[in-house]
């Protein structure tokens, strides 16, 4: 290691370590993924499973962006910038799914009732 780097390393060790936080978050993410996989095989109401899956995915998403991607410690502008893209993407998805999910949008050739997301 170069001399300046070694000096910086000593200075850096004065900061609180995020090491254990990262490990704990990774374990939580792995457990949530396991729960998600098991959940789809449980004999529960479909709306309940879908809602739970969405919530669990959102939790995983937030853990990664705020902890692993350091948004928690960065300037608020980074969060705002990213959420602009995220809200636009989410809004577009919501609009498209409602538009094409409407009764009048169903193509005549589709197999109605084969699958409904």
């Amino acid at each position: 290691m170069s001399a300046p780097a070694a000096h910086s390393a000593e200075a850096g060790h004065q900061e609180p370590s995020k090491f254990h936080v990262f490990i704990q978050i990774a374990m939580v993410l792995a457990v949530i993924t396991g729960i998600e996989v098991v959940l789809v095989y449980l004999p529960l109401a479909k709306w309940l499973v879908v809602s739970t899956l969405c919530i669990l995915s959102a939790v995983k998403f937030m853990f990664v962006i705020f902890i692993f991607m350091h948004l928690k410690w960065d300037k608020l502008l980074c969060t705002i910038l990213f959420f602009i893209g995220l809200v636009l993407a989410g809004g577009t998805m919501w609009a498209l799914l409602h538009l094409f999910g409407a009764e009048a949008s169903k193509p005549l050739s589709s197999i109605v009732g084969l699958i409904s997301l």
Binding site: I23, L53, I115
Partner: protein
């Protein structure tokens, strides 16, 4: 003067030389990732819209998917995100050796994920007879997951470039050596996710190991030579230019890597898990 400047420490979350207080490079990456959100939003929407109203003759996803393998891939990608976060943490503390190990680990896990995808695609086409053009489901599925896989592959390449950059000597440019080093790293990663990992998955599913080795003998031999070259070129004795001051560069690559992870979190739920309800 700020407290960080007074103590000689580098503030990794704020840059006092820019008007926003954010390093320009980091701001650029966040803007790019925000735009990439919209890109993937469009691809995921397209896939889900066609799943809402599947045309006749469409593939049945639950008969095609292998949820155990995909769950394993998801776990691997999440763990690669952990290693990436640890790599950023290590370089912010000026620990180059640990940074290299974590970057290599992240690349390795990325290659396992990509190898799983290569196996999955090959299996879907050869065994399940689902191609890009013979069903709407195939078209949207391969476009979406293939685009994500391309992002992961680009991420592995960027990580490889960053890994090699950590060896740049303080004196002399070492350009040719670093270029050869990068080629060796790319060869190892390429062989890993195109031949080694898919081959090992086939072995897990019952193909004899000897058959796998015979089938991919040449690429595996090339990969082994490249691996030796990677280790030899990675033996460094002198001072290197790379250090804590480059933490922003590693963090920028990390942002991209975590982004492909969060996109997969959405794809795993929306494309795979919801089909099993």
């Amino acid at each position: 003067m700020s407290s960080h400047a007074a103590t000689g420490q580098i503030d990794h979350h704020h840059d006092h030389t820019t008007t926003t207080g954010i390093p320009n490079k980091k701001l650029l990456w966040w803007a790019f990732l925000a735009s990439d959100c919209m890109f993937f939003g469009a691809l995921i929407s397209t896939h889900l819209i066609y799943r809402l109203n599947p045309p006749p003759g469409n593939a049945v996803p639950t008969q095609v998917f292998n949820i155990e393998l995909t769950s394993f891939s998801t776990f691997i990608l999440l763990m690669s995100s952990l290693l990436m976060a640890l790599a950023v943490n290590a370089i912010q503390r000026g620990n180059i050796k640990s940074t290299r190990v974590m970057l290599l680990g992240t690349m390795f896990f990325g290659c396992i994920f990509l190898g799983g995808q290569v196996y999955e695609f090959a299996h879907f086409v050869a065994v399940k007879k689902m191609t890009l053009s013979n069903s709407i489901f195939g078209s949207t599925f391969y476009t979406l997951t293939g685009t994500h896989g391309t992002h992961v592959a680009i991420g592995v390449l960027l990580l490889g470039m960053m890994y090699v950059r950590t060896f740049k000597p303080t004196h002399g440019n070492g350009l040719i050596k670093n270029f050869v080093h990068l080629l060796a790293v790319c060869a190892v990663m390429g062989v890993s996710f195109i031949w080694l990992v898919p081959g090992l998955i086939e072995v897990v599913y019952g193909v004899p190991l000897t058959e796998m080795l015979h089938h991919a003998a040449v690429p595996l031999a090339v990969g082994a030579v490249a691996l030796v070259a990677t280790f030899v070129l990675g033996r460094t004795s002198g001072d290197v230019e790379f250090g804590e001051k480059n933490a922003g560069d590693v963090e920028a690559i990390g942002l991209y890597w975590h982004f492909v992870d969060i996109v997969w979190i959405i794809i795993f739920t929306a494309v795979y898990l919801l089909e099993y309800l």
